[in-house]
């Protein structure tokens, strides 16, 4: 079974992940019931003439892609695959409001042009002059996962280097409306994220890009060994059974997994199956979380994969992610169990290489 090697990463999140030295030492709390991404000064990543017109999602995506490519030290890729739940939401909203506020008159096309979900992928293709494979996935909590599944197939089909990334942005209006629909809760509920008893997430945003390589090089930080998505599993037992067979494909069992990053979102309804699984994971592996620092969004699993890569690189599980005092001894395999709305589940397996 083909693996992918992670040769470069770039991550913009509510934390200081843009700084390559940062490793969960300083943590920004949520702004009550949501997180904002910390955006870098884009000038060092994007030409000023392009920057002026770009929406936030595009800027975040292009910059994170740029950082990953620089770290991998490559000039070209054989494909660009992006994943995003809501795409360039700011531009979509801007064009929609212009239509509604001006009764379909006096419109300019820029925000419409940039509203299409494939804008980030195509902007990167334009900048890199990449005429090769270009795909954009837009399926909720599978958006980023699909990019990884696709990249692994492309490697089997003979491609060598693929850029993948997850992108999400929110807007002030989006936050107002979701708050009104009671989808959020304050971060400070008094209970840790993996033990929440109340509904509501902390809405967030961010982007993480990865240069994936078919062959291992001196740049390789970790390997991506496998990825599987589960649509609407009925019970925690179903998830566990699927997880055990997923690990078996890779000749592993749960006890071989040094760290298991679990996608607790803080919404007790969505997290119930993960809460049920937690004792088993804690017993066999070392359980950890990540949405307490990155918040919840469609492509939070991209942040999780960035975190897993860092954990393997640094050989350490940051305390802020731990759910117990149990510490991993030597980190060879990291598993991500993500969930989105309790509907989209995924397993992503990374290993030391």
């Amino acid at each position: 079974m083909v693996k992918a090697y992670i040769n470069g990463t770039g991550c913009i999140s509510p934390q200081n992940s843009i700084d390559s030295e940062w490793f969960f030492d300083t943590i920004n709390p949520a702004k009550g019931d949501y997180f904002d991404a910390i955006e870098p000064s884009y000038k060092e990543f994007i030409a000023p003439n392009l920057l002026r017109r770009m929406g936030r999602a595009i800027k975040m995506g292009v910059a994170a892609g740029n950082i990953a490519i620089k770290q991998a030290d490559i000039q070209k890729v054989d494909g660009i695959i992006t994943g995003t739940g809501l795409g360039c939401f700011e531009d979509s909203e801007r064009f929609l409001l212009a239509i509604l506020n001006n009764d379909e008159q006096f419109l300019t096309p820029t925000s419409f042009i940039q509203s299409t979900h494939n804008t980030v992928g195509s902007q990167i293709a334009l900048i890199m002059k990449c005429h090769d494979y270009n795909f954009t996935y837009v399926h909720r909590g599978f958006s980023f996962e699909s990019t990884l599944q696709d990249a692994l197939m492309l490697f089997e089909e003979g491609k060598e280097t693929i850029l993948v990334g997850g992108i999400e942005e929110h807007t002030p209006n989006f936050i107002i409306l979701n708050r009104k629909a009671h989808k959020f809760q304050e971060q400070n509920t008094g209970l840790p994220i993996w033990r929440s008893k109340t509904p509501g997430i902390q809405m967030s945003e961010g982007t993480a890009f990865f240069v994936l390589n078919k062959t291992k090089t001196e740049k390789s930080l970790a390997s991506l060994d496998g990825i599987q998505t589960l649509y609407k599993p009925k019970t925690a037992a179903d998830i566990l059974a699927k997880l055990i067979s997923f690990l078996k494909i890779h000749n592993l069992s749960l006890t071989d997994i040094d760290v298991t990053l679990m996608g607790f979102s803080g919404d007790a309804n969505f997290d119930s199956r993960l809460q049920e699984l937690l004792p088993t994971i804690e017993k066999e592996s070392v359980a950890a979380c990540y949405k307490n620092v990155c918040g919840e969004y469609h492509t939070a699993s991209a942040f999780a994969m960035w975190t897993a890569t860092k954990i393997i690189e640094r050989q350490m599980l940051p305390k802020v992610l731990s759910v117990s005092d149990k510490k991993p001894s030597g980190i060879k395999h990291v598993l991500i169990i993500n969930q989105y709305l309790g509907i989209n589940y995924s397993f992503t397996l990374l290993s030391q290489c």
Partner: protein, 397 residues
């Protein structure tokens, strides 16, 4: 690893019919579905034409047999077309084989969001649009409507979306990850896309005229089309009947401009060449091309040049069927896949309506009347914003 992949079921709803038999009738009678705007709320409804599905949302709800108020037009038409494809194929999703749904859409739930967006801030009604606005919504509704689906994902690569859904489905079967997949695309007409294309000044106020020297732009349409594709192993197991084989596909990027195609059609040329390369066919083996042919000055010239780059002075018979359906965006490639299979099955090339004068620069002349001719292989092109170019190759079985 590689097994053959067959199309075994067709489903489609668009301006030319609410199902495949109705669509075939319109196509074989050269009857366009494009006309006066009836359902879309827009101040321009008397100034432009569109390819609307002839049913209201209430009528669609009756057909779907689901009164869930959260459903929007995108979901209704996606569910109808996907279900038709599944029934047509005869697959039983409860038989233990792995079934996937790979759909695609560009504006997803926008047709409903735009009706209520401002109200959302003032009232407590219609907040469900927050859950149904995104692209994944209609895909999951299809999956639940069909039942027993193991895998879902959604693609959005502008007007080439459904071609990429078909391509991904084929690859997942060849890689042994799924046994069969319901693949396609959907886009309901919205004020958002209508005004977007109008602002770009690429809408024709009259009937669109693909590949005509005097073409002025496209007519927007709406629709959903899905095909069931199955690996030969799964098909043989249930002794099913194939309708056509998918023998080639390719995805490239023009990397020229965010919305415009390169003048020489570089990305399109590569997509066609790579699809041919995969099939092992020579350009002269292609019997007919179902072109992207939107009717915009830019696309049709660029696509004509790409066609000449690949086929030289032996350009196969070709037509764009967008003058029947309008440009249905994410659904275009799957609607044209269904039309291509109908062409193969019935040995018919459906005409390029409204054409009179060839483009001076290229001189290419499409088929303008219904043609009965044996067809073995069909190339279908789809290109989109963001430079996304995809080509598919279908073969008669």
């Amino acid at each position: 690893m590689s097994q053959r992949v067959y199309i075994t079921g067709l489903g489609m709803i668009s301006a030319i019919g609410n199902n495949v038999p109705e669509s075939f009738l319109s196509l074989s009678q050269s009857k366009t579905g494009i006309g006066k705007i009836n359902h879309l709320t827009t101040r321009y409804k008397d100034e432009f034409l569109a390819g609307e599905i002839k049913l209201s949302n209430a009528e669609l709800a009756d057909l779907v047999k689901d009164n869930n108020p959260a459903l929007n037009r995108n979901s209704y038409i996606a569910m109808l077309a996907a279900k038709e494809a599944v029934l047509n194929s005869g697959i039983d999703t409860k038989d233990g084989l792995r079934t996937g749904v790979i759909s695609s859409t560009t504006v997803a739930g926008m047709s409903k969001t735009e009706l209520y967006y401002k109200e959302l801030f003032e009232k407590d009604e219609h907040l469900d649009v927050l859950d149904t606005h995104d692209c994944g919504d209609s895909t999951e509704r299809i999956a639940d409507y069909i039942g027993n689906v193991d895998y879902v994902t959604t693609i959005s690569t502008a007007c080439s979306s459904a071609a990429n859904a078909i391509m991904l489905g084929c690859r997942m079967i060849k890689h042994g990850q799924l046994d069969r997949v319901v693949v396609g695309g959907v886009d309901a007409l919205s004020k958002f896309t209508f005004n977007g294309f109008n602002t770009l000044m690429i809408l024709d106020r009259e009937w669109c005229k693909p590949f005509d020297e005097n073409r002025k732009g496209l007519n927007l349409g709406e629709g959903a089309a899905f095909v069931v594709i199955e690996g030969e192993n799964a098909l043989n197991l249930r002794k099913g009947k194939p309708l056509a084989e998918v023998i080639g596909y390719a995805n490239t990027n023009d990397a020229y401009h965010q919305t415009a195609s390169s003048p020489e059609g570089y990305g399109a040329t590569m997509a066609i060449q790579q699809a041919l390369g995969m099939s092992g066919l020579k350009p002269t083996d292609i019997d007919y091309i179902n072109m992207h042919g939107t009717g915009t000055p830019n696309n049709d010239l660029s696509e004509s040049k790409a066609t000449i780059a690949v086929f030289g002075n032996q350009v196969p018979k070709f037509s764009s069927t967008k003058a029947f359906t309008g440009h249905t965006l994410a659904a275009a490639a799957s609607i044209e896949a269904v039309i291509s299979v109908l062409s193969l099955q019935n040995s018919m090339i459906f005409p390029n309506l409204n054409f009179t004068t060839p483009i001076i620069e290229t001189g290419l002349i499409p088929e303008t009347t219904l043609l009965h001719t044996p067809l073995n292989t069909i190339l279908s092109n789809s290109f989109g914003f963001g430079g996304n170019c995809s080509s598919l190759l279908f073969k008669k079985v």
